[in-house]
């Protein structure tokens, strides 16, 4: 099977998953106890006139599947309705926060990859050395420290005491955003680095002990060739999976980090929307988050396919 065919098969699976998810997400409103019109009115006065107006506006008198169909058609055009608690369409509320979350996730991901993978490889190569022990120690400390504690510590040191970085907010413009997101990204990366570091160390240790590595050495292959062609390539597969999960997790909203650094991102929006029963926003966010996670997985799967010849051969045989 070619890469294109593989990608097509995965995309079809993703579309099917999204369709199923959209049905579940739309069903949220129907499954929520109480009258949908009253829920959509939110805290507004639910007079009979207001309820009738909402029923007509949202087509709530139609059968469920008709309502779902209408919602899907509108959603495909980017129209998820209006937020109950804001004077804005849902997509406007989401897009105003989307980039904060995306930038934060990417920034933290880059820091994570840059720190965790080299350190993990070094720890594996020099097993038992001070680097390995150092990596294990910081991993343990980072894993044991709550996210909010790391956040407040960074704010206290780098914002209040040293005045190097702002302690809260999103920033305005590219450089200002990077400046504002440095501390939150560091805090988020601190939570992610142990996971990727341990995974990298374990994966590399697993590969370097394999027979084919011993055989490659006995054949007299150079160290660089052994590392680049055999160890890192084979060791990258589980690392790639972990990295993909980490990125997906960050994109789904690092709620605690957003809260500590007063970032108005998707995570804090989801929490506040659930708390205020702003169901149109919750529906759209749930679907968007699912799509982001599925797309991230798709990219990881495609990279997997490119890196692992066994998958390609299996596909070709099939």
């Amino acid at each position: 099977m070619t890469l294109a065919a593989y990608a097509l098969r995965r995309v079809v699976a993703i579309v099917a998953t999204i369709a199923l998810l959209s049905l579940l997400v739309f069903g949220l409103l129907a499954l929520t106890p109480g009258d949908p019109a009253t829920i959509l009115l939110g805290p507004r006065s639910a007079t009979p006139e207001a309820i009738a107006s909402i029923n007509e506006r949202y087509g709530l008198n139609d059968p469920f599947l008709v309502q779902y169909g209408n919602w899907v058609v509108a959603a495909l055009q980017g129209d998820f309705g209006d937020s109950i608690r804001a004077s804005e369409p849902v997509m406007s509320v989401i897009t105003s926060r989307l980039w904060t979350t995306v930038w934060l996730a990417l920034y933290a991901f880059i820091i994570t990859v840059v720190v965790a993978i080299p350190l993990g490889i070094l720890a594996a190569v020099r097993r038992g050395s001070w680097i390995d022990r150092f990596a294990s120690s910081i991993t343990l400390i980072a894993l044991c420290t709550p996210a909010f504690a790391i956040g407040f510590l960074l704010i206290y040191v780098f914002s209040v005491q040293l005045d190097w970085f702002p302690g809260f907010g999103n920033g305005d413009g590219f450089l200002d955003t990077i400046w504002h997101l440095t501390l939150p990204a560091l805090a988020l990366a601190t939570l992610q680095i142990p996971i990727l570091l341990r995974q990298t160390r374990a994966a590399v240790m697993d590969v370097v002990d394999r027979d084919y590595i011993v055989f490659a050495r006995s054949r007299g292959l150079s160290n660089s060739r052994i590392w680049l062609r055999y160890v890192l390539r084979n060791g990258s597969l589980p690392v790639l999976t972990s990295a993909g999960l980490i990125l997906a997790f960050s994109l789904a909203g690092a709620v605690l980090i957003e809260n500590v650094f007063a970032l108005q991102g998707l995570g804090s929006l989801l929490v506040s929307s659930v708390g205020t029963l702003d169901l149109p926003v919750v529906q759209a966010l749930a679907l968007l988050t699912a799509i982001l996670v599925l797309l991230t997985n798709l990219v990881i799967d495609l990279l997997y396919y490119a890196l692992d010849p066994r998958l390609r051969r299996a596909g070709a045989a099939a």
Binding site: T47, S87, T100, S159, V160, F168, A262, Q264
Partner: protein, 541 residues
């Protein structure tokens, strides 16, 4: 977050009527101001100009239209740009704003416009704009979140180019207060052109206030620019930024680093840390924030007064006030906040309060005795929902549950969101035991009792409506002077403290942090939400 939750509740209408219905004429009977004390005093005097000041609010401003987002942090933000029809002074009295008012009869309010009020675009404020600003909350088809405040309005009509007449369906002495707190003045033509986008980032609104809106989004906050042509004088700050910081500790660190200059509604549980800031002054104001335990008298086990007494005896309110609020609350003596007693009865307040029957004292033995006399002598089990955004609720509930265990009552504490907590108060299927928080924005001691007790009370969580209570609540509702109020108030508060449909728990203070580069002229007031607060702030000199 406690304050936020309370005013959120206020905004979304769960306590809407309770907060305002039945209160008297805007504190005109008041004889003293709300008490305030500064934790640390600054030697600086005000009057200086400010380039930019940044204030943080604890929840995002979801709309610049109060009809869509009437939460307290949003009202504070909106009032930077939009005047109200009337205003409140530091003592809670109703004072003129863009209009002055007269009440020729109890069901009529005549509003007279000032001559010199203009919108930011230079167009003069018209009587039609004022009528529109009220009318949008009036009527059964209004979807305004503030509609419930204006349920007694029959009509709002322009009677001449400078006069708007508000006709009421029934006497509503609280209406001037409602006009001062909730009736934001917006330009009709702008809103009509904006349609459903009014209040949103693209079309936030056209106002007459001291600041115009430069930019607004619920994610990034609001930037305001000074309106040099403001009818009330030129504000001291050139620019105001309002940002959202939901975590109070983040706000404290931002205050410490000087990134923000002020923070409203500091959680009382955290004030010890805030007091240590060396670049900010904490202001603590006694006000109308009240906490209660409500027991549904229409349902078992609380249809039995002895079961209610058993619960009331389990609460050591005086001992709990200190740790739960860092000493910034007192054990309540009745449903009525202390500040309302003082403003209503003046020097007589102490004597009137002393005449109330006492709330049952803390005594496990007496709780046991009361339970033994009840229809459920072997105890009972029920849930108690606690709003996770109000830090005092969970420890209080846990304390109560532990004490209850000793006499055979099982109370299961259920942490819930603010929305679920608010909904549970009115859910007939919810637990008959509820914790309640209310904010009372007026100075009148007769404000809360008639909306919490009696068959006509819209916020009667305890469903307490005995014939005697109904009669007393009715008498309080129509009282317009302290002399008329005194007797029925003493009788009803004694009735409530004796039969305990509610256990009045705490009367909390309000805490506000103000950077030392700023001075809040005249001191922060509990009634600031009814004021154009940025006009009270100047630079320290």
């Amino acid at each position: 977050m406690a304050r936020l939750a309370k005013w959120s509740t206020l905004g979304i209408g769960l306590v809407a009527a309770a907060l305002l219905a039945g209160c008297s004429g805007g504190g005109s009977d008041a004889s003293s101001s709300s008490a305030s004390d500064a934790a640390s005093s600054s030697a600086a005097t005000g009057g200086g100009d400010i380039e930019t000041m940044t204030w943080a609010v604890p929840s995002p401003v979801m709309s610049m239209d109060s009809a869509v987002d009437p939460n307290l942090p949003s009202i504070r933000t909106q009032s930077t740009a939009f005047d109200r029809v009337l205003a409140q002074d530091n003592e809670g009295n109703i004072v003129p704003s863009v209009t002055s008012f007269e009440t020729p009869d109890p069901q009529t309010i005549v509003l007279t416009l000032r001559d010199d009020v203009k919108f930011w675009d230079g167009t003069p404020l018209t009587a039609e704009d004022v009528a529109y600003s009220i009318n949008r909350h009036v009527g059964p088809d209004s979807t305004s979140l503030q509609a419930q405040f204006f349920g007694t309005v029959e009509s709002v009509e322009v009677t001449d180019p400078k006069t708007v007449t508000v006709k009421l369906l029934a006497p509503d002495p609280a209406m001037p207060t409602k006009l001062a707190v909730f009736a934001f003045v917006r330009q009709q033509a702008y809103d009509e052109a904006a349609g459903e986008a009014a209040g949103g980032p693209e079309k936030p609104g056209m106002g007459t206030g001291p600041y115009s809106i430069v930019s607004y989004s619920s994610a990034d906050g609001v930037v305001f620019a000074r309106n040099d042509a403001y009818w009330g004088g030129v504000p001291k700050a050139k620019e105001i930024k309002v940002v959202t910081i939901e975590d109070p500790e983040t706000a404290r660190l931002a205050m410490s680093s000087g990134e923000i200059n002020g923070f409203f509604d500091v959680p009382l549980i955290a004030t010890r840390q805030w007091d240590e800031l060396d670049n900010a002054t904490m202001s603590y104001v006694n006000g109308g924030y009240m906490d209660y335990l409500a027991m549904d008298t229409s349902r078992a086990p609380f249809d039995d007064v002895n079961a209610r007494l058993a619960i009331a005896h389990l609460l050591d309110r005086a001992a709990l006030a200190q740790p739960l609020f860092n000493g910034r609350a007192v054990a309540a003596t009745s449903l009525v906040p202390e500040v309302q007693m003082t403003t209503t009865f003046g020097s007589e307040a102490g004597a009137v309060t002393a005449a109330f029957a006492p709330i049952p004292e803390f005594s496990i033995e007496k709780a046991k005795e009361a339970l033994a006399k009840s229809a459920t002598p072997d105890g009972f089990a029920l849930d108690l929902a606690v709003d996770t955004t109000q830090p005092w609720m969970s420890p209080l509930a846990q304390n109560l549950a532990e004490a209850a265990k000793q006499i055979g009552i099982t109370i299961t504490v259920k942490p819930v969101s603010a929305a679920d907590w608010g909904a549970g108060l009115f859910d007939p299927a919810a637990s008959p035991l509820q914790l309640v928080s209310l904010a009372a924005p007026t100075t009148w001691a007769g404000e809360l009792p008639p909306v919490m007790v009696g068959e006509a009370a819209p916020f009667n969580i305890a469903k307490y409506a005995t014939p005697e209570a109904n009669e007393l609540a009715g008498a309080i509702a129509v009282a317009t002077t302290s002399a008329e109020l005194k007797e029925p108030l003493i009788a009803l508060m004694s009735d409530v403290n004796t039969n305990v449909p509610y256990v009045s728990l705490f009367n909390e203070q309000v805490a506000v942090a103000i950077g030392n580069t700023l001075v809040w002229d005249g001191g922060y007031s509990y009634f600031a939400p009814g004021q154009v607060w940025p006009m009270n702030i100047s630079g320290a000199q």
